[in-house]
Symmetry: C2
Subunit: 231 residues, 2 copies
DNA sequence: CTCCAAAGGTATGTCTGCGAGCCATTGGCC
DNA sequence: GGCCAATGGCTCGCAGACATACCTTTGGAG
């Protein structure tokens, strides 16, 4: 065999520093962690947190400006702000491996739901989850993908594991790119919200098995949709 | 809240190219993907696969030579070979976040076991799993950690998801570093082998729920051991 | 015995990315 | 009205990493 080697000898870095920085900032915007109208951290702060030089951060931001994701304003209380209308992700992405992305997502997100339900959550965390649920349920079609992602990220965060949260964020970006190529319909959305309620209820009730099951059903919906659309 | 930002604005790259390359090669050796006496891929091949220049690969290998992990021989049929006795990992590692590592591992590995059991495996994959199980069950104390990792990696591979396999490899490295600081005893080993049998049997029988459960119990063993030892 | 393919060993010029510093702009505070 | 802190905008020299080319060693094939 020895084809586990493929996993271990995969490329050390996904791209150059610039590309990866753009990717991260896009993640923050597309997953709704920084909403339209809100401000990104300052260039100096981003440079520190992303472990990258300020020059590189600026180049990445410039690239986002040119693609109408953000606008920058100078002066104190200035900064880089997310535009109200952000471009759709470029279509025709190579669908790498749908099976790969969906398998990883299912493992991570059902695991996160179960783990979150198995923890004793503080009042702030419980409030956070309810707030995200509320946001998602009242979201319009245009902002649904973002609000949905924020809810799922909040669930991952509720596990208390930063690396699990990071993994979920990456996974969602991959799957969202695929989802962006197929239509999002009102009925899906209603159904999705009902499932969200079950998931959050199970987590808040401390019911790991229920949370896992509810999440699994939730994910299976979009998974079969995807497998259907993309052959 | 907005502390999902912590996950998204984490550092873009874990270290410089050299450090990450060393890390990868150590993973391959420590996880037993390249066993003692075996040869690493050639420098040129590693450079291509790791997406890094040959100079960097050589520096990384040099560092491994100086630490007695490998030896290089010139000429055709030469190469870089893994030593029989590889150094123990440096103790006193900062125990970053034990909870974080264990949470992620549980999610990934129970998910992998379940996913593997839910697939129809080819004869080669089934044979591979049985072979790894056999290797682990007959391993001596000294080589147990390696053989054990190979078995778990084989399970991840059986999901057919490369990124899941990569994630499991990373996760195991983190947890193994912690495990290296506490003793490995014969009784643990016997118990562990029995659990391995159950896991593999469930996977080969196509019993996802059973595989998940067996894996969960298996992991809980070392998890509670760790939490106990490391406060 | 000779040849030569494949592996490690070496050298050099280029370019990316970083660090550090300074400038320009802005709006609240005193 | 003036100050000034915090932000984006800009420049320059250095270190790391890269691509490429060439050299040296080795053992099997012919």
């Amino acid at each position: 065999m020895e084809h586990a080697e493929e996993a271990l000898f995969r490329p050390v870095r996904a791209g150059n520093a610039f590309e990866e920085t753009v990717e991260r900032l896009m993640q923050a915007i597309r997953l709704g962690v920084v909403a339209p109208g809100e401000r990104l951290p300052s260039e100096r702060e981003l440079a520190t947190r992303l472990g990258v030089s300020r020059v590189t951060v600026r180049e990445a931001i410039r690239s986002l400006q040119e693609n109408n994701y953000v606008e920058s304003r100078r002066g104190r209380y200035g900064g880089t702000f997310v535009n109200d209308e952000i471009p759709k992700s470029a279509p025709g992405k190579e669908f790498g491996d749908i099976h790969d992305a969906l398998t990883l997502r299912k493992v991570l997100e059902t695991g996160a739901a179960e783990a979150a339900a198995g923890r004793s959550l503080g009042p702030a965390e419980r409030r956070g989850l309810r707030a995200r649920l509320e946001e998602a349920s009242t979201a319009s079609l245009g902002e649904y993908r973002r609000k949905d992602s924020r809810l799922h990220l909040a669930i991952a965060e509720a596990t208390g594991s930063a690396s699990l949260t990071a993994a979920v964020a990456d996974s969602r970006m991959r799957v969202n790119e695929l989802l962006d190529t197929i239509p999002l319909l009102e009925p899906n959305l209603v159904h999705s919200n009902a499932q969200h309620e079950r998931i959050i209820a199970s987590i808040l009730d401390g019911d790991p098995a229920g949370a896992r099951l509810a999440m699994a059903e939730h994910l299976d919906g979009t998974a079969s949709l995807l497998r259907g659309f993309l052959v």
